[in-house]
Subunit: 409 residues, 2 copies
Amino acid sequence: MLEVSQRGHAMPLSPYRRLTPYADAAKQRGVHVYHLNIGQPDIETPPTMLAAVQQANIRVLEYSPAAGFPSYRRALASYYQQVGVSVTPEDILVTTGGSEAIFFALMSCLNPGDELIIPEPFYGAYTAFSVATDVRIVPVTSRMADGFALPPIEEFERRITPRTKALLLCTPNNPTGYVYSREELEQLKDLCVRHNLYLLSDEAYREFCYDSDFVSALHLSGADDHIVVLDTISKRYSACGARIGAFVTKNKALQQTAFKFAQMRVSPPGLAQVLAEAALELPDTYFDHTKAEYQARRDLMVRRLRAMPGVSCPVPGGAFYVMAHLPVDDCDRFCQWLLESFSYEDQTVMLSPASGFYANKSLGQQQVRMAYVLNCDALDKALTCLEQALAVYPGREVPVAEAALDQSA
Amino acid sequence: MLEVSQRGHAMPLSPYRRLTPYADAAKQRGVHVYHLNIGQPDIETPPTMLAAVQQANIRVLEYSPAAGFPSYRRALASYYQQVGVSVTPEDILVTTGGSEAIFFALMSCLNPGDELIIPEPFYGAYTAFSVATDVRIVPVTSRMADGFALPPIEEFERRITPRTKALLLCTPNNPTGYVYSREELEQLKDLCVRHNLYLLSDEAYREFCYDSDFVSALHLSGADDHIVVLDTISKRYSACGARIGAFVTKNKALQQTAFKFAQMRVSPPGLAQVLAEAALELPDTYFDHTKAEYQARRDLMVRRLRAMPGVSCPVPGGAFYVMAHLPVDDCDRFCQWLLESFSYEDQTVMLSPASGFYANKSLGQQQVRMAYVLNCDALDKALTCLEQALAVYPGREVPVAEAALDQSA
């Protein structure tokens, strides 16, 4: 009997995947599904980016260099310099999406069986990458009650073993929206220097900070060899389908190593690099508009969620996600029920159960991640669906006062 | 001291890479370098493919589904059906270039330490993928004297151990240009069925067969679960920079497994899928023209090579490569010398030393791979450079008759 590989068997199915058939079935029944479950924004991709591809004069669509087109690497270096990050084109490897940057980082920094410390909850695909690269994720739990701030640095230190090679941070954070402060980043940097670890910083949402300035790992000084930024244009310019990211480090040996993995796959996508390069010609005001839009959505979402009985959420300072506590028995069950058994005015909402973001399987059962990737009008309707659903969900947690009333009855 | 990973350290640098600085230096000196070293054709990408991207009405460049756009998977299934391969859209996973299809195959079929049998010489990147996936390549040497035909099947059988999980074939072959016959494929299939192995068939050059009909692994019957075709549009439509390939198998469990790796990286490139889909609208005559062009180049190259003293080569039946025996001490040294110390009318030629295609490091020293990716006029000039170079190269092998003359003098 032919078997698939054990590592293939061990690979997780995306948590979204489990709910997709229920969403499809709902649509088949004529129910409109508001997708707050994935980070696919409805924001228009800047037309000048698409126009650059349309106007490119290409006779032969050749391989690009393995590290990306020199012109794009130069333009990207200028972008980083403008945001206070001092890097050269040689510090940048263009990758096929942020995904490939994560893959290159794990392959280049860690060996099979090595340990990678990550604050949880964290982006679900990290689990898939850790299985694919045979790296062991060691979670440090951040708490909703603390707004998902960095757990005390001692919590990280305590988990360091001889197999620990790196620490992976996502700032602004997916799924929590938390933006790490300079002080928190300095603590992590010091820890990495003290214990000889890499600090991998996933900065996919770097342009979306609403209440404070963004601090990049590359803004930190004195630890250039330790720091790798994993980046992508997906969210920044609403160009998720382009698949252009970047692996950025001033560590020459590490950049050389990642380059060998880049050579293996010959080149990153060519047309998409033309698109990405055009992004760097956008006016400085581009992010003002997009940020204002996201901030309005965030404020709407937080306000409406907090007005629902039993629902609570921290105010996320960045990215475009809110993690909310819901008064239900189990969010996996609730999210399925929303799609399978509920509708309000022929509409329902798809959310991400937080269980997919925790390594500790006992955590997050009463939490969901909601992406504010729809405009305020659609978002408002989606939140009305949620509010209506919570009122009638059979597995809802009975509030203490109400429970007392029940008992007295 | 921070170290890169052992696997990163073990990753090979592409063999091209070693010679690139010498090519760059030659160009700086004003010497024109004919690039016969890489499989980057000068054939125009069909303008209708590029036009499809230009005309696509994209407001938001969203993630495509992880397995690729359904419309493209349907169109690609029709393509395979037209060439006698009976597959459905569900049997096809769209990948980021053929490279990713190779990666998914190794990850899904083999575990760390498992063995993969490959006839050598073979595509150099297989070595990189085997290091990245911790798979051990077991080569079976095919010989130039046999035109690089399949070695006797007993040679394969003898190398099968309990760790052998798959056999990887490339047909038409890179680097040899050999096109495996139906009989050879049937032998390999029977072997795979008998020993419970996967048969991975890299068919990147499937449309370029000049003297016989192409036989795909998917044309074989009775072994659907064993067979995986790794494909790409790179060479077929001269669209190397698009990065669109395919992982094709009728083995449902394997397709599901590969899909989990596909989910990890979210989606293949979006714009390039639009380009690829348009390729399937090309007229049936498209390949006639391209094949005639490649065949004329092949015939020219073989004729001129065979007219050079001490040079020999089989007639390759497909792809766009010729493996040639050169009368020199060492082709690595010769190829470097061509760039570093030689020019003829301010021109020289860059070739691939065959050492990069052999796992056995003692093989291939007197062989080079030459890609006929330039038009006949440029090719002719490049071959004149080679002819002139062989006449004056200090490390040339002295022909037997001449050596006898020397001794008698």
